[in-house]
Symmetry: C2
Subunit: 331 residues, 2 copies
């Protein structure tokens, strides 16, 4: 294993410290228990968005803390759910009287620990609602999940619901909008290589020199099938077909097309995949009116991409366009 | 070689097409010869910044085309200088009567081809000035360069000079500011792995399982020395010491600290390096008042980072803070 780290046990603390130092005008780090919050307090009675999950997917979620997106993020250990006390502390810190929306990726550990934290916070009188994200069309159940997994679509849920909270929508409305985004986004990924978790020290799985894993999960868990590496256009068509079939996307509809890098993929390859997907959508009469390309939900150093398509309506589009000021997404 | 590409000969065209599609509100692609320009024309008689170089370093330079930064970017083939006719076409397109500043990384091929393009454009009455970037302290001469190489500091030159052009500074002033940034920025990188150029199909060099290359160039060319992999804090201290010694940085000075990922490095590791560098600078009494962390000048899928330190003054700081609207840098 070759990594730019010190003691593997210090990876989380040191990377969160570095993150908080580098973006000290936007975020602050809290310890015992660990969470990241927006530095500038939200206006009183605004709805606060809180998300979290295992580390190793950076910039998710800490990189999305800031004006117009998350009020707080809770990083667990590498690929491990944060603990209920961490999440509860973030809920308490984030709430400014408008209630809290917890955005939870559908993994069994996350769901369980967020549920316990919600109970703790509610016992203290904080109104917390949970929105589960489950955008991955690849598999129905997997090693880590009952039901569909939550993957890159989470970024779109957090951005759009965050903009709704920032414009002053109430708790019920922000929940409804977050669920509406989740209902209209589908994703699927492919891995060309495994990733290496620092404390494990070896790749999370083995792929042959000419093999890819279609429908890979963000922890390297198995997807739909392994096959021989083929051309980018072929792979992209496979991912996109699974997504658009599931979305029942029709000609004339507007979408946001999101090509997400898994961490180790050159930018030029992300754009080759974007080109193939955009052309296929265009040929089907679908209008790509918004786009996002980059490393947003990663799996450490994994080589691969995920494709996400979000069916847009006017409100979602204007919430997507609304200003955002976070470390990883800013306009 | 495992890559998300189609025919290796189509990588450049297809990735530029995808890039232009994904960011069609900001840029447009031109073909025969190939260059990328800002979609929105500059106000008449504004100074236009043009940069370029071999592909494989994305988002450099196309990702920095847009309001407040570059008017055009010229991508050569992978790790290969763009041709004079490409560069000349970009000069002609970009010029709106205020003259052109060409930002050139100091590599022999780039310098030669930009020189020929400048002659062609000047023969047509376009006032083009060249600013050479040579921020790499690692080596004095190398396989690809006479003198110091131009590396990640180029992003800082392009951002700050671009902001000067956008506020209406004239040609001489923009050149002076770009040279002032170059004179005050130093960089040095380290590689944990080589990168694989698509048409080559094999890694650009061999590194042992426990080896790193200190002072690596952005094409994988040799640096200062190979050594055993050590802790991130130790490696960071080595890079930073070479930089701050060369800059003759003194206690009380303000700097911008830039940790650049080479393409295949997890985000968490970039922040571990940032943390180590920020702490060392702080201990030396240097004030880190601005920061940048991410994959901005990459070497395809190489694992590694570069560190850059820019000595700031008030004008550079306010130009750094000025709005920018490009695919890769936006605030």
């Amino acid at each position: 294993m070759k990594k730019l780290i010190n003691d593997p046990r210090d990876v989380l603390r040191e990377s969160v410290e570095g993150f908080a130092l580098a973006h000290s005008s936007i975020v602050e780090a809290h310890w015992d228990p660990t969470f990241i919050s927006q530095r500038r307090p939200l206006p009183h009675s605004t709805v606060a968005l809180v998300s979290g999950g295992g580390s190793g997917h950076e910039p998710l979620h800490g990189g999305f803390v800031g004006d117009g997106m998350l009020a707080a993020a809770v990083p667990g250990a590498m690929f491990t759910s944060p603990t209920p006390d961490q999440i509860d502390a973030a809920f308490h810190h984030a709430d400014v009287g408008g209630g809290v929306v917890a955005i939870v990726k559908n993994y069994t550990g996350d769901v369980m620990n967020f549920e316990m934290a919600v109970e703790l916070a509610q016992a203290d009188g904080i109104d917390v609602r949970t929105v589960l994200v489950n955008d991955d069309v690849a598999v129905e159940d997997s090693t880590w999940t009952a039901g569909r997994r939550g993957v890159a679509g989470t970024v779109l849920v957090e951005k759009i619901a965050g903009a709704a909270a920032a414009r002053g929508d109430d708790l019920e409305t922000v929940v409804r909008i977050a669920e509406h985004v989740n209902a209209n986004v589908r994703s699927m990924g492919v891995a060309l290589s495994a990733c290496t978790v620092p404390h494990a020290g070896v790749p999370s799985f083995d792929l042959g020199d000419d093999e890819i894993e279609l429908g890979i999960g963000i922890h390297g868990e198995p997807g739909r099938r392994r096959e021989k590496l083929s051309e980018a256009d072929t792979i992209t068509a496979t991912l996109l077909e699974a997504i658009t079939d599931d979305l029942a996307l029709a000609s004339g509809e507007q979408v946001l097309l999101f090509v997400n890098g898994m961490g180790g993929t050159p930018t030029s390859e992300l754009y080759i995949v974007y080109r193939a997907a955009a052309e296929l959508l265009s040929r089907a009469g679908v209008v790509v009116s918004r786009s996002l390309v980059g490393n947003y939900v990663t799996s450490l150093d994994m080589q691969g991409v995920s494709l996400s398509v979000l069916r847009l309506d006017d409100d979602m589009t204007s919430l997507w366009d609304a200003p955002v000021h976070t470390a990883a997404l800013r306009w």
